[in-house]
Every structure is written in C-alpha cells, then in structure tokens.
Amino acid sequence: MSNTVRELAIEVAGLTKTYKSGDSTVEAVRGIDLRVEAGQTYGFLGPNGAGKSTTIEMLCTIRNPTAGSARVAGFDVVRERDQVRRRIGLVFQQQTLDLQLTAEQNLRFHADLYGLSRTDAERRIDEVLEMVALSDRRSDMVMKFSGGMKRRLEIARGLVHAPQVLFLDEPTIGLDPQTRAAIWDYLHDLRQRTEITVFVTTHYMDEAEHCDRIAIMDNGEIAVEDTPEALKSSIGTDRIALRTDDDELAIARIRELLGVEPGVHEGQVTIAVPEGAEVVPRLFTELGVHIRSVTVTRPSLDDVFLTYTGRTIRDSEGPQKSVPPFAAGRR
C-alpha cells in the first residue's frame, strides 16, 4: 500500500431511491453517503429489505437514483454509465451464465461485449480460468458444472475485462463451506496481485471478517460503518473464562487486581473487560492461583449486527429462507 492519499473507488453522496407502490411511496434508500478507498475489500451487510440490493444496482448503473450522486471508478453512474460499466465487474446473486455454452465461450462472449481485443481476450481468459482453477474444464458446457464451479466461473468472468471495482452480491450463498472458503481464497489471491476494489454483500458474518471495512445498512440508511475490529470493540467487552485450581481465591484476587466483579458460569470464572488479550498476561503473573485454562472471546460481528439492526443476520433472512438461492430473483 502506498502512503499517498488513496483514491476513492466508490464515492456516494445523498444517494436516494424511492418507489411508487400504489398510493404510497417506498423509500428504499434514504440519502446514504459512502466512501470506499481503492484497493479495499468492502463488506456491505444488512437484513433483507434494508436497501442493499437497490444500492448495489444503482452503483452498477442498473437503476437510476431518485436523488443524490454516485461515482464509481471515477465516473458518474448516471451521466457516464458506459464508462462505469467498462470499469466494474459484477457477480450477481442470481446465476447469469449461459448454460448452453462452454466455460470458455461464456468468457469470450463477455470479453467481446466489453470490447477487448482478441489477443487481450485470450490472455485474460487463460489467466482468469487459471485463477479459479477451471483451466482443464474450459471446453465443457457450463450445464455440467456444479454450483461451486459455476460461481467460480462467474467470478472469473467478472474479472475478464480487468475491472477496477468488483461487485459481488452474495457470492457464496448456497455453497458448501469448502467452496465458500475456496472462493474467499481466490478473492484474497486477487487482492494480493491486483489493486482491485471489492465490494461484497454477504449473509455470512464469518465472511465479513475478511473485509477491510464494513457498512451495515438498515431501513434504507447506513447504520454504522467502520473496520470489523473497531465495530466489535465499539459494542462492548471481551469475555475471559478461566479454569483454576481455586476459584474462590481467584475471584477474590480478581476483584482486588482489576476492580471488576467476576461471575461463575459452567465451572469457569468469567470476567468482562474491554481488552481481554491484554489482561491475560497479568492474570498469569499476578493472580497467585494456578490457571489450568483460559479463553478470551471477542464480541462477534453477529453481536455487532444485532446491536445495530436489532436482528441477528439469521433472523433477517426471514421469509425468504425456503426460496432456493438462485431462484430468488430480485427484480
């Protein structure tokens, strides 16, 4: 990372989208501001109906905003639509491959639509197939691919035209844990090798940990925006759980040492402190009781999500739970 001021890959000011629904107007996005620095991986979270998809669609030039402005890769999403389109890669929640073409034909079609020259196209297709480990399946019909392979191919396709910003809408939804991990490996690999900015929505909180920064959207507004670490520390304290030879003595000593009131849960002494990891060494040196085990639990992003939206991410999936991920259109 250079030490110069980073350029902004995404710059959003007062972005608003309202829909007419019968007599009433629905405010899907209520004047949000966002700034995403180039080269970052940016997580965009929120319950269903929060306005995430609408926001992404405006950033990707699929929908026009009602008010406000957005610049992506330096261009205005309304006035310079095609300039934006050439510089962004998109991976949708819904599958958008042509199943009746081969993997390579899908990529070539994409390269042609984005105006790549033949030599550029061939080189890029080789590279992206290599990256997602599908080189040996390039001549197979996409119809024969598993869900994970299709997803990998879609990510590869989103990268064919060397975009500056890659938008991924729920890239791992409906995939098994191994494939999810593999997809994040590709994304990490991509960031190592390129300057690309990745803008990703996800329902999996463990995946949000991969992001440099996170915004949580709720009711059409950005509820909070920060690094995952800062968000977690902002909502509370770490929990230390100890197993000791003499709990009574340990509790008394902890009161003296830290000035907090320990609890006992399931045979463990528990303490709530702001920076758990910093307290542990003191416990070992100053407690004077033999410690058999110690665990420090940090607040999770699930806790963060709950705090800012009043819902857990699982609750927020709500009624759409029974819909197969690829059939859930968001038109």
Partner: protein, 293 residues
Amino acid sequence: MTTRDTAPVEVAAPIDLLPEVRSDMSHQLRATWVVTRRELLRFKQDKARMVTMLLQPLLFIFVMGTGLGSIVDTGGGTSFRTFLFPGVLATSVLFTAAFAGISLVWDREFGFLREMMVAPISRASIIWGKCLGGAIVATGQSLVLIALLGTVGIPYSPVLIVELIVCLFFGALLLTGLGVLLSTRIKTIQAAMPVSQLLIMPMMFLSGSLFPIAGLPAWLAVLTRLNPLTYVVQPMRHFTLDSLSLTAAEQERLLPVITWFGWPVPLGVQLLTVAAITLGLVSLAAKIFKTTE
C-alpha cells in the same frame, strides 16, 4: 473528473480498455454481432433442436402433401406437393425464427439477460443481435429443405435459390422481431409457449402456405391480406412456380394476384412491406425493452 489511466488496474496484466478509441457506433455494431454469434453457437451445439425443427416441414411436404394430393385438383399437371413446397419452406422458418425471438424470455429466466444488460452496450444492440441471430439460424436451417427442391420437381436454378433465401431471411427476421417483441411483454416461460403457439398457428394457416388464397370467402381473404407472412409466402410461391411451365388454369388457381383495394401488389412491394413491418416490430421491441427492463 479523475481517471485512473496512469495506474494500471492489474499489476500482473494491465489491459487498456481504450473506450475512447473505438467509436460508439462501431462498438454497438460489434456488440450486435457478438449477440448474434451467441445465437449461432447455441444452435450449433443443440443437435436435438436442429433435427426436430427439420422433421416438421418434412412431415408437411411428404406426408400431408402426398396424402392430400390425391383429392386436391391443382388445375393441371402440377402436383400438390410442388405447390405446397414453398409454403412449407416459409412455415419452417416461422417456427424456428419465432422460437429464437421468444427465447429472450428464457434468457431472462435463466439470468443471462442480466449479463447482457450490464455490459457497456446499448439495449438496441441486444435486440438486433437477438433478431439477426435467430433469422440467420432459421434461414440456414431452411437451406437443408432447399436441397430437397428436386424431390418435388422444382429445378435447382441458382437464381431461384437466391430468391428463396432472400425471402426466407426477410420472413425469418419478421418473425424473430415478433418473437422478441412478445418477449418484452411476456415474463414467464409458462406463458411464452402458449402465446407463441397462439400466434404461429393462425399466421401459418392465414398465409396461404397450405392452400391457395384464390377464391376464398371475403372474411378469410381479408385476414390473409392482413397477415404479414402472406407477403413472404406468395412471392416465394411465385418464384418457385414461375420456374415451371404452368397452364393458364393453374396460374389462376395457384398464383392469384394479391390486391389492396383493387391494386395488384407487385412482389417487390410485398417484400418491402415485410421489411417495413420488421423494422417497426424490432424498433418497437427495442423501445419497450429500453424502458421496461
């Protein structure tokens, strides 16, 4: 505005997108051709579709044509199969082309439409590419049938073959245009099939592809003249039968002159009518597409 031209996007493999170099028009034309080529590729890889689309016209010509031939009086020595041939040729294009146009509904359902919609190309390129692709596939397929001209006693004249191909292409483009127009309105696969059947069957019957349009009751005569496919079938039949020596009785029975309010419509005007309707349909489809998708 700030661009990032100086900083390569990808360290390992920078790509110049050169958006300013390629003129917009040439990029859109290229995009149209890319969409067209996809239709051709898909068709080439779909052997089952190729075979089934060919079987139907063969059934019409050789089974129905032969079967009905014994009770149909052509007014001379021309066999009913010979009469039927150009009509069935036009009909074969009808099914393939209309299906190719309406396949936009499938593209939407399976998500691929989105891939095209977010690309830096115009909506019109997508629609025109879809239509051209469908029309080329449909015309190409009919070439197989043209190879069978001899089996119904029509000579393999190069001029006739070119004339037939031109007519078929016009007809095919008309029908893909119609299919695409429908698919801008129809959103589900379940609705697409019945609606296209509802459209294709009357168009087939009312074009005079299976019977001569001479001496029809007034209501039927009016309907045939309102059917744009009539102006594909009739020129094709003229070109085909003109290459044979018909008796005057046959001329009158098999090749009636189409009139609009008493004016005999020349073949060229008939084909121009088809072209104009096609242009109207495709432009309308592109316009609807632009505002609704």
